[in-house]
Symmetry: C2
Subunit: 185 residues, 2 copies
């Protein structure tokens, strides 16, 4: 089992800084050549499972144009310039919620699309929150900040109230982290 | 809080059936107009958390070109034609693993990219598996089928062995489902 060879990579669209679309000619592990394998470069982003109390996280309600609906999301956003994922997570949490957190843990990094690429999402768990300022995200979306009780989260995931995959992985991994901490005592 | 208006939608690339790239002119909730908002249409896909025993799921090890690495994934694949998500999940499980399952539960549906779109992932939980045939996926990737113990999964998520977001959400939601069943008795 080994990586495919990229024989040619043609840039079809350069819409920097948002995305670049490529058509690749690739050679598979079995030697077969594919002449139209599409890949997409996008900015990495972060999502933060931020515990505002032992029973609640900070949720963000906003219209998401990719989902074409009002979504219950997490503090999240694109990594800018040379920021580390953790620095971006701290910046986005402060901008979108007005809080800083004194305890940060990484929960995982995943490529958004296993076939096309589309950048990575970096998921963080944040605790020990302190209010520093009023929220001022600067994002395109109008958003409202909410406290969401942990016991509500499984149903919000299952019923599509949490509509985006970035929010869903942040909430799922955050809940698993809490449950494993409880099991360990 | 309300959806944005799409004033114009220009198709930049039509790479059917894989993807279509659009540049949209949108009007935001505050009235501001954005002339270069990019959206992507892709096929929906499914991922299956399939319990082969009370302690193990079926994992698939394969090179994923989006991640540029060998990935530990789940049975998964694109929905074809007019298939329902559940029908696609049953077909992919059989093709990739040789098993059918007698107990299926939906775990959630999420848009892959909250900004760009990129299709939806539909996640399923499958139990009561019966071997029917040898695996024969027909996919581009060379793959190996493995039994993975549930207790290994959190570390495999955290360390990047599970490298793709589709596999990560399937495993996370599957583990949460098991834990909530155990809590309910």
């Amino acid at each position: 089992m080994k990586p495919w060879d990229i024989i040619e990579r043609k840039e079809l669209v350069n819409a920097s800084p948002f995305l670049k679309l490529y058509r690749e000619t690739v050679r598979l592990e079995n030697g077969e050549q594919i002449n139209d394998y599409y890949t997409i470069d996008q900015q990495d982003y972060i999502a933060v499972f931020a515990m505002i109390s032992p029973q609640e996280i900070l949720g963000i309600r906003h219209y998401k144009h990719g989902a074409k609906k009002i979504n219950l999301g997490l503090p999240s956003g694109y990594i800018e310039g040379c920021e580390s994922p953790l620095s971006a997570a701290k910046r986005e949490l402060l901008e979108e919620t007005g809080y800083i957190a004194n305890d940060w843990r990484p929960l995982g990094t995943f490529v958004v699309d296993g076939n096309r690429g589309c950048g990575n999402v970096h998921v963080f768990f944040a605790r020990d929150l302190v209010k520093k300022q009023e929220p001022a995200s600067g994002d395109l979306e109008t958003m409202s900040l909410e406290r969401i009780n942990l016991v509500q989260l499984p149903e919000l995931l299952e019923t599509g109230v949490v509509a985006t995959l970035g929010a869903a992985i942040g909430i799922s991994l955050g809940l698993l982290k809490i449950k494993s901490s409880l099991e360990e005592g």
